[in-house]
């Protein structure tokens, strides 16, 4: 059974968590061109690597950031969002 560490509640089984996708900076909707906006809406970094992702501990509804190696399925680090990722 896989364990993930919630920054608030500590280590919990992965079934308590929901995956929120990779963190992607949003371009300014007023300034972005249609192509930039479409790229933001649809395109993803699909290749493997260590990615910063949104995760949520669902019983406590805690959203946080996880750094995860998507090729080896290893969670390297989890921490609360501080507006700087």
């Amino acid at each position: 059974m896989k364990i993930m560490t919630c920054p608030i509640n500590g280590p919990r089984v992965i079934s308590e968590f929901a995956y929120g996708g990779e963190i992607r900076p949003m371009p300014d909707p007023a300034m972005a061109t249609d192509d930039q906006w479409a790229d933001y809406v649809f395109n993803r970094t699909g290749a493997p690597g260590v990615k910063k992702e949104w995760w949520c501990h669902t019983p406590s509804n805690t959203w946080f950031v996880a750094e995860r190696d998507t090729e080896r399925d290893i969670i390297q680090r989890t921490y609360l969002y501080a507006g700087d990722v």
């Binding site: 990779e22 192509d35 479409a38 993803r44 290749a47 493997p48 992702e53 998507t70 399925d73």
Partner: protein, 413 residues
């Protein structure tokens, strides 16, 4: 076969390789290089050689033939999709499937079973009606049926599913079938090989050369190849290849797991899918129950499998078939499913001239193998998207013109 036996029975060595020729080295250039020797890549090679007379083709495979999602799917073939684009495309595929064994002179164990998409809710019944109407409009056999019809076709089913998710009815698709997936790759591979296509296994693509927006060559683990055309048909490895040419797509990779039980006597004729219980199941010719469920809930680029999956799937199996509680699970495995936001594939030309993409096949690529080979070979030969794939181009995301096929994915992903 008997003539071969007479010719070779007394000779010291068998002069023919069993399925394919093996080549000691790569040539310095090819007209077309196909990355990925799975069903799709080999089918494209086969139709390029057979229908378009392009035989100076090589197929590169990092592992072995059919070792990716071609050999990891649950072998279901159907065409009861939701969008007109999807229905037309898969209907052509089902028709190609039916003649394939003759075409190859190889037994594909193509077995027409009938396919039920079970509905446990009013909303699911509504989607069934919608799909049935779209299907019938395009001449695809598809009917909404009630619970009694399901019970008659599958007498062993607990139609109330233990009381908490009773089956109200479903969508019945008579042409639904299963086939032996390895044989499909081998058949296409052998057919292509016989026509002069070179298949190179254990040859990894390390880089792709592009000059001035045009494709010029491929760097492999066994040297460089000069070519002007590359077809990429690598399913779960697609983003790795696209990173080499800096093309961005919406494709993301989630593992899709499956498992089989020990062999039991034949009791399940049709293929069953339940969106609410997240399962699909059929019984193989060997008697094993072949079972699958929905995608893993987060992105992973490996074929690891999990105990959570087996537990979840087994629990739902027992809702429907309580008598299976003593049947053992024999194997489980995973494939890397290349998913798109609208659950339709991405096919055709790309921003790099000469680079053609056949990807985004997520959880539904096996059944499309013949028609993908056919349409992609046409696209590569003519440098123009085939009319059946114009709804599946990469441009649809730039243009906000998606092809919404999620409602017809076999289980809710």
């Amino acid at each position: 076969m008997p003539w071969r036996l007479l010719r070779f029975a007394l000779s010291q060595k068998h002069p023919e390789p069993r399925m394919f020729a093996t080549h000691d080295s790569l040539k310095s250039s090819y007209d077309v290089v196909i990355i990925g020797a799975g069903g799709h890549g080999l089918a494209a090679a086969y139709y390029l050689a057979r229908d378009h007379g392009i035989t100076n083709v090589c197929v590169l495979e990092k592992g072995y033939i059919g070792g990716g999602n071609t050999g990891r799917n649950t072998t279901i073939i159907r065409s009861n999709y939701l969008t007109p684009e999807g229905v037309k495309f898969y209907d052509e595929s089902v028709r190609l499937w039916q003649d394939l064994a003759q075409d190859f002179d190889l037994n594909l164990f193509y077995s027409n079973r009938g396919h039920f998409t079970l509905a446990h809710t009013d909303a699911a019944m509504r989607t069934s009606r919608w799909r049935a109407e779209v299907n019938k409009h395009y001449g695809v056999e598809s009917e909404v049926v009630d619970a009694a019809f399901v019970k008659q076709a599958v007498p062993m089913i607990d139609i109330s599913c233990g009381g908490h998710a009773p089956i109200l009815g479903g969508l019945y698709h008579a042409p639904g079938a299963v086939a032996r997936h390895d044989a499909v790759a081998w058949g296409y591979g052998r057919g292509a090989d016989m026509r002069g296509v070179e298949i190179h296994q254990r040859t990894e693509v390390l880089g792709i050369d592009v000059a001035g927006g045009k494709l010029t060559g491929v760097q492999t683990s066994r040297g460089r190849i000069a070519t002007n055309k590359v077809l990429c048909a690598v399913a779960g490895s697609t983003p790795r290849i696209l990173k080499m040419i800096d093309v961005r797509t919406p494709i993301y990779i989630h593992p899709l797991q499956a498992m089989v039980s020990e062999p039991v006597k034949p009791w399940l004729d049709p293929i069953l899918v339940s969106g609410s219980l997240h399962i699909y199941i059929s019984q193989s010719a060997r008697g094993e129950l072949v079972m699958g469920a929905s995608l893993d809930p987060y992105e992973v680029h490996s074929t690891r499998s999990t105990l959570d999956f087996v537990e979840g799937l087994a629990a739902h199996m027992l809702d429907m078939f309580p008598f299976l509680s003593n049947v053992k699970v024999m194997r489980q495995w995973a494939g890397m499913a290349d998913m798109t936001p609208d659950f339709a594939p991405i096919m055709g030309k790309t921003p790099v001239e000469g680079f053609y993409l056949d990807a985004g096949w997520g959880t539904w690529g096996f059944k499309a193998t013949p028609v993908c080979g056919k349409t992609m070979s046409w696209t590569v030969a003519n440098d123009r998207d085939h009319e059946l794939i114009t709804g599946f181009t990469l441009d649809r995301f730039r243009d906000f013109a998606l092809t919404g096929e999620k409602g017809a994915a076999s289980v809710g992903h």
